[in-house]
């Protein structure tokens, strides 16, 4: 059984976005932009959910499940973002601890 050497040139699947952001701010897929993109998407889903509620109230939408699914998407994506944020802060604290 071969134990692969530590400095294996192979496939450590680096997250290119993180790697690239270390190298420079003006990379197109920087961490900040990615996070910003996520937040925009989530905001978009919230807006869509609100719009579907309005359409249901005024009678433009017949199907209840459309409204329910839009709400569920908005809720899940929001909670996902909260979790992601928590993880990030945790990681940041961990990193800060490491530097000591």
């Amino acid at each position: 059984m071969g134990v692969s050497p530590i400095n294996n040139n192979g496939n450590i699947p680096a997250n290119n976005e993180f790697v690239n952001s270390v190298e420079g701010e003006d990379q197109k897929s920087s961490f900040k932009n990615t996070l910003g993109g996520f937040i925009n998407e989530i905001n978009d889903l919230q807006t869509k959910a609100d719009a579907s509620i309005e359409n249901f109230a005024t009678g433009k939408v017949e199907n209840v499940h459309e409204v329910m699914i839009a709400m569920a998407k908005a809720e899940v994506s929001f909670k996902f973002m909260m979790e992601a944020r928590n993880k990030l802060v945790e990681t940041y604290k961990e990193v800060m601890r490491m530097q000591m």
Binding site: A49, D50, I53, E54, F56, A57, T58, G59, V64, V67, M68, M71, A72, A74, E75, F78, K79, M82, E83, R85, N86, V89, E90, K93
Partner: protein, 125 residues
């Protein structure tokens, strides 16, 4: 204190009010199904709602006031011998629809508050 509840939460509250009033109107129609000369009543809110929804600010919902009116649709067609025009089957199906709609609105509102709550409680770090 405005805790950031937005326009659709206010809309949902108003729709719950409308639904509640509608239920009472349907109850009255059903109770009076055998009253001579009684004409069926309904809640008129659709036009006001359309206007209020298209305003961008949520304060416009303050002017949103549904009205209880005598129903104008087929008021002349379906009158029976005693002058009563309440169609029992229509009223019962309106009842079922209204109950469902009410529970949909309560669930949507609950979901909205849940999301806000998770934002407040979610900062465990």
């Amino acid at each position: 204190m405005n805790i950031g509840i937005d326009k659709s939460a206010t809309l949902l509250e108003k729709m719950l009010d409308v639904s509640s009033v509608k239920h009472k109107v349907i109850a009255n129609n059903i109770a009076n199904v055998n009253t001579p000369g009684y004409k069926k009543m309904e809640v008129s809110f659709a036009d006001q709602l359309e206007k209020a929804v298209n305003e961008s600010s949520m304060n416009k919902f303050d002017t949103f006031q549904p009205k209880i009116v005598i129903s104008k649709e087929d008021a002349s067609e379906a009158i029976r011998n005693d002058g009563n025009n309440v169609d029992m089957d229509k009223e019962v199906s309106s009842l079922v629809k209204n109950t469902l709609t009410y529970s949909i609105y309560t669930q949507l509102l609950a979901k909205k508050y849940e999301v806000v709550k998770s934002a407040i409680e979610g900062s465990r770090v």
